[in-house]
Amino acid sequence: MNLNQEIINGYSVIFINEERIDAHNSGELKDYLLQRIEQGDVNIVVQLEQVKFIDSSGLGALLSGFKHAATKSGKLVLACCNPRVLSMFELTRLNRVFEVYKDVSELFDNES
């Protein structure tokens, strides 16, 4: 999976450079998030601007990261979901579980 990570304002911002998240690459995403959290990056923003499609396994990978971050007293939030991707979270009510920000700066404005 093509992704890159930057530390911004104390958050590990993970940019997913893929248009599609499905069972072919969601395992990698899940493992990557777990690894980052185990290494101490417990406050994570997953930036999904490029993602046009996500399936249930993609949601599962993000949920796994969310739960792991929470066990380490951190948090995993989402940014830049397009409306179709957002509707997946709404259908499963995961939009009540995840904080979803329009963009990364909205998160930081919120925090300050």
Partner: protein, 141 residues
């Protein structure tokens, strides 16, 4: 599209790398539907998703003892009704006993069938000879 049927059959190895291909066929079909009054982009996403989830299940439940195992996806559209049949050679599962996801305590897996059922009109899973068939019906009005 007139009332003649459009039929597409794809046979793929049981590898997740082909999910993109199967999903994009679903997306592309949305453009071919005549007299569709809804949001076509949304339909495209939903067909992509339904085909992706169905194919993923077939790949996961396939015959792991046979490295040459395949999954067949048959798509039939006629008079604005879509029927998708996904054939696998695995042990099968009991569709009626697949639990609804618990939205108050969400788990990381088990949502595929929920999406298929939420976005389509009818779903059945039956044994046919030496394979299992997940049959999905959706009206495209």
């Amino acid at each position: 599209m007139n009332t003649n049927a459009l039929q597409i059959e794809v046979v793929i190895p049981t590898q997740t790398r082909y999910l993109d291909l199967i999903g994009s066929i679903g997306e592309r079909i949305a453009k071919e539907v005549d007299h569709f009054s809804g949001d076509r982009e949304e339909l495209a996403y939903h067909l992509n998703l339904v085909l992706t989830e169905a194919a993923t299940n077939a790949i996961k439940h396939g015959n792991y003892l046979d490295p040459k195992d395949t999954v067949r996806v048959a798509i039939h559209i006629q008079a604005n009704q879509l029927i998708v049949r996904v054939y696998d050679h695995g042990q099968g599962f009991d569709l009626e006993n697949v639990p609804l996801p618990d939205f108050d305590d969400p788990k990381e897996s088990g949502m595929g069938l929920f999406f298929i059922r939420a976005l389509t009109d009818k779903v059945t899973y039956t044994k046919q000879g030496d394979c299992n068939v997940l049959e999905i019906t959706k009206r495209l009005d």
